[in-house]
């Protein structure tokens, strides 16, 4: 029998001599359909987690205008995501804000773009873990009918140690290179949607039976974002809305994985945002009608429950079925916790590889083929950040969410301007290019920049967020500044230690036209 040469269709694991390139790419090509892509989109957004973390801070900022703010908050996200998609198509070999921003703006802003993403992740990881810890003890309390167990989460040291256990678990799963299977994703998403709708319907029933905590009659004005009391409040609300849609843009950039790259990503993105829109408005309206915006025990204005609203509301609203809400939030935050490790780890790996970070970050685990060192570092830093915040802040969840809003505005803004700058020579070529490569990202970027500046200035006020302060300055502002300054300092240290990246020797700047 003669040996047959390895002829390999793109869909099978190809074997080829090492002299050639990669015959089939690493992505699971063409395996995701419309439903799958939509599930991935909703799964990224993790609505149960997102809502419990953001409802309180949003009401604190804009009161009853929450539904309206949730609607306008989507606009900058959409505009930036459109530009993002163009970048993704133009530079398919670059995966992160770091590589894009470096190609468009050169090493300095590129470095800060990567830093913004890493910092945002570290902050969201600590918030996710915090929510998971709260719900973990709440679920134990519900399970054993012993409310004292839920109070364990209030003990700082128990809380920090439980968070460490969760972080180590999530980090380990990512280090092993394991991913959530499709089936698990479907179940988690369906469960979250079901429980959130259940919660809303139960809250509305309480309202109509007259058993709501602080019944607030529905008003169409809630949908008018221009009734927001001040521009500062508006900016804070939009910044939070960006957080609640964060992750949606993933569907738009899923090209190769989808069965039909021409239509599937766009349809999935539309379907995802339709479902999320309906859900957010249903939940926010019903929560307002049940709880009101007062500062009473269950009022959405109560600072003690703001950071984790469902933990307080699920019991009174859903009665004995509140444990389902605990399960939904716990599973959604635990799944997000694990998957969120992947992004920053890969960004740090890329930064390590291009000499923008120390070499060790470029290490790939020979056994699990995952960015080993970078994953562990992400876990260590996120936990350290959480532990410090737990001690410093009176309401760690609210403060981290507000900081996060600022960070997301920053790195999305950088990406939006990167798009405009990168495509600057070809935007007048066609109406489509003008709209998608210039207008959309430019407007989106400008909105984000304004929101970023406004919230940053407002956060100097010690009353901002949880009211935690250091020396009369709001903790959220200090956090944001410390994180940015730390980035700039580290950047200069890296520049001094290994200038190759900053001299453009490892990753070069370019304009879209040069490629052709």
């Amino acid at each position: 029998m003669a040996q047959s040469p390895a002829s390999t269709p793109a869909s099978s694991p190809a074997a080829e001599p090492s002299t050639g390139g990669i015959s089939s790419k690493g992505l699971s090509a063409g395996s995701v359909g419309l439903l799958g892509a939509t599930v991935i989109g909703i799964s990224c957004i993790a609505p149960a987690y997102t809502l419990t973390a953001s409802l309180g801070p949003t009401v604190a900022a804009v009161g009853t205008q929450m539904p309206g703010i949730f609607m306008v908050g989507f606009i900058p996200m959409l505009l930036v995501a459109l530009g993002y998609r163009e970048l993704n198509n133009a530079m398919p070999d670059a995966g992160t804000s770091f590589t894009w921003a470096t190609r468009a703006f050169g090493p300095w802003l590129g470095w800060m773009g990567g830093w913004g993403l890493i910092v945002a992740t570290v902050v969201v990881l600590s918030n996710l873990a915090g929510v998971a810890v709260d719900f973990f003890y709440l679920m134990l309390a519900q399970l054993f009918g012993n409310p004292d167990l839920a109070d364990l989460a209030a003990n700082v040291w128990i809380n920090i140690l439980t968070c460490l256990v969760f972080m180590v678990g999530a980090c380990y799963v990512s280090y092993r290179g394991m991913e959530t299977t499709k089936m698990v994703q479907y179940v988690l998403v369906a469960f979250q949607l079901l429980v959130l709708v259940w919660f809303s319907v139960a809250a509305l029933l309480h309202f109509s039976n007259g058993t709501a905590f602080d019944a607030l009659g529905f008003s169409i004005d809630w949908f008018n974002p221009f009734l927001t009391p001040s521009f500062s409040a508006f900016a804070a609300g939009v910044s939070l809305s960006i957080f609640i849609y964060w992750g949606w843009d993933v569907t738009l950039t899923m090209n190769e994985e989808t069965k039909d790259p021409e239509t599937t990503p766009g349809r999935a993105a539309t379907l995802t945002v339709g479902i999320i829109f309906a859900l957010y408005i249903l939940v926010s309206v019903s929560a307002l009608m049940f709880s009101g915006v007062g500062t009473g025990e269950l009022g959405l204005g109560n600072e003690d429950i703001q950071g984790n609203v469902f933990a307080a509301l699920a019991g009174p609203v859903m009665g004995p079925f509140a444990i389902l809400m605990s399960l939904a939030v716990l599973s959604s935050s635990a799944a997000s916790l694990q998957s969120t490790f992947v992004g920053p780890a890969r960004t740090m790996l890329a930064m390590g590889h291009y000499k923008a970070f120390p070499n060790r970050f470029a290490a790939i685990s020979p056994r699990f083929k995952s960015p080993g060192f970078a994953t562990v570092m992400a876990g260590v830093v996120a936990w350290g950040f959480y532990a410090v915040m737990r001690v410093l802040s009176t309401d760690v969840l609210t403060d981290t969410i507000l900081t996060l809003g600022i960070m997301i505005c920053f790195y999305y803004g950088v990406t939006a301007f990167a798009c405009v700058w990168f495509f600057r020579r070809e935007v007048f070529g066609s109406a489509r290019a003008f709209f998608l490569k210039l207008l959309a990202p430019l407007v989106g970027g400008v909105i984000l920049a304004v929101i970023f500046a406004t919230t940053l200035i407002d956060s100097t006020n010690p009353d901002y967020g949880s009211g935690s302060e250091i020396g009369g300055v709001g903790l959220v502002f200090i956090l944001a500044i410390v994180l940015f300054v730390a980035g700039i300092v580290l950047m200069f240290i890296m520049r001094a230690v290994n200038p190759a990246f900053f001299q453009g020797k490892t990753l070069t700047k370019g304009v879209s036209r040069e490629k052709a």
Binding site: I40, T96, V124, T340
Partner: protein
């Protein structure tokens, strides 16, 4: 035209990968085969996370690193053995290896089996374990700390009395054709320590070995010494330890009758053998379904 046999080496840049390569070299020398050093990378999924985990950067860097690993591995192959390197993407490592064996028309998959086992013995890793339940070609398992001897001097074939042993024997016949290597046929017998040594079971085993020997001599054309032995002990592990093992020896064992036609399924006895075996083990699949 004579076909040059080739073996897939399941490589990764770990001690286990190195051991697989060493065993590949030893077997390639024995049978004048070529090596296909394969490194399997897991296909990246669309990780659903708020942060873009776009895989493209990572994918390129991962492939680059993998090529470096393969380059190092190729450097370890001695001059008297021909080897090529291959980078593969698959949903799982074992799936990729089985596909590679099919694509490359390979005769065996060589894998480092050990994961933290004690005293140079086997503890089976997950990839090896997956192969041992699905591979359509023989799977060779390298024990921990294995390094290739200059020459394999003996092949031991562990033969059970149950139907199906001919398949294993045919495979050994094919391998040893024209080779100068000693052959040993053994059966393992569990005896109750309290009873006397020459139990009826052991006597039956000796008789069975004679049948095996007769079958082998009818079919084979190898040139080494042939011997038979019965290993007995209070357990399979003890029975394996009761036999002498050379460092430059290979062991062969067949698949369980539970296996689907033409695939491997490591039976319970063979599994327990592994725990006590100090030499590489080749597991042979069942014969194709008779139509």
């Amino acid at each position: 035209m004579t076909r040059v046999p080739n073996y897939v080496v399941a490589y990764e840049a770990t001690p286990q990968g190195r051991e697989a390569l060493e065993l590949g070299v030893a077997m390639a020398r024995l049978t004048e085969a070529e090596l296909r050093i394969c490194l399997v990378l897991q296909r990246l999924g669309a990780a659903p996370a708020k942060i873009h985990a776009a895989s493209s950067d990572f994918e390129v860097l991962l492939a680059k690193q993998a090529h470096e690993w393969l380059g190092t591995a190729a450097g370890w192959v001695p001059a008297d053995v021909t080897a090529t390197t291959h980078l593969l993407w698959a949903d799982s490592t074992s799936e990729g290896l089985i596909q590679a064996a099919a694509d490359l028309d390979s005769d065996r998959i060589v894998v480092g089996a050990a994961r933290g086992g004690l005293f140079n013995r086997f503890t089976i890793g997950s990839v090896a374990n997956a192969l041992l339940h699905a591979s359509p070609v023989p799977v060779a398992l390298a024990p921990q700390g294995y390094s290739a001897p200059t020459q394999i001097t003996r092949i031991t074939c562990a033969i059970g009395t149950r139907p199906g042993w001919e398949t294993l024997l045919d495979s050994v016949v094919a391998l040893t054709e024209g080779l100068e290597v000693d052959l040993r046929f053994v059966t393992l017998v569990e005896v109750d320590a309290a009873r006397e040594k020459q139990s009826p079971v052991a006597a039956g085993s000796s008789a069975h070995l004679d049948t095996v020997l007769a079958y082998y001599q009818r079919h084979a054309h190898s040139q080494g010494d042939i011997s038979t032995e019965v290993g007995s002990g209070s357990s399979v592990e003890k029975a394996v330890e009761a036999l002498d093992w050379r460092p430059d020896e290979l062991a062969f064992v067949g698949s369980s009758r539970l296996a689907a036609p033409s695939t491997i399924f490591l039976g319970i006895t063979a599994h327990r053998m592994l725990h006590a075996l100090p030499v590489p083990l080749v597991v042979v699949p069942t014969s194709p379904a008779r139509s």
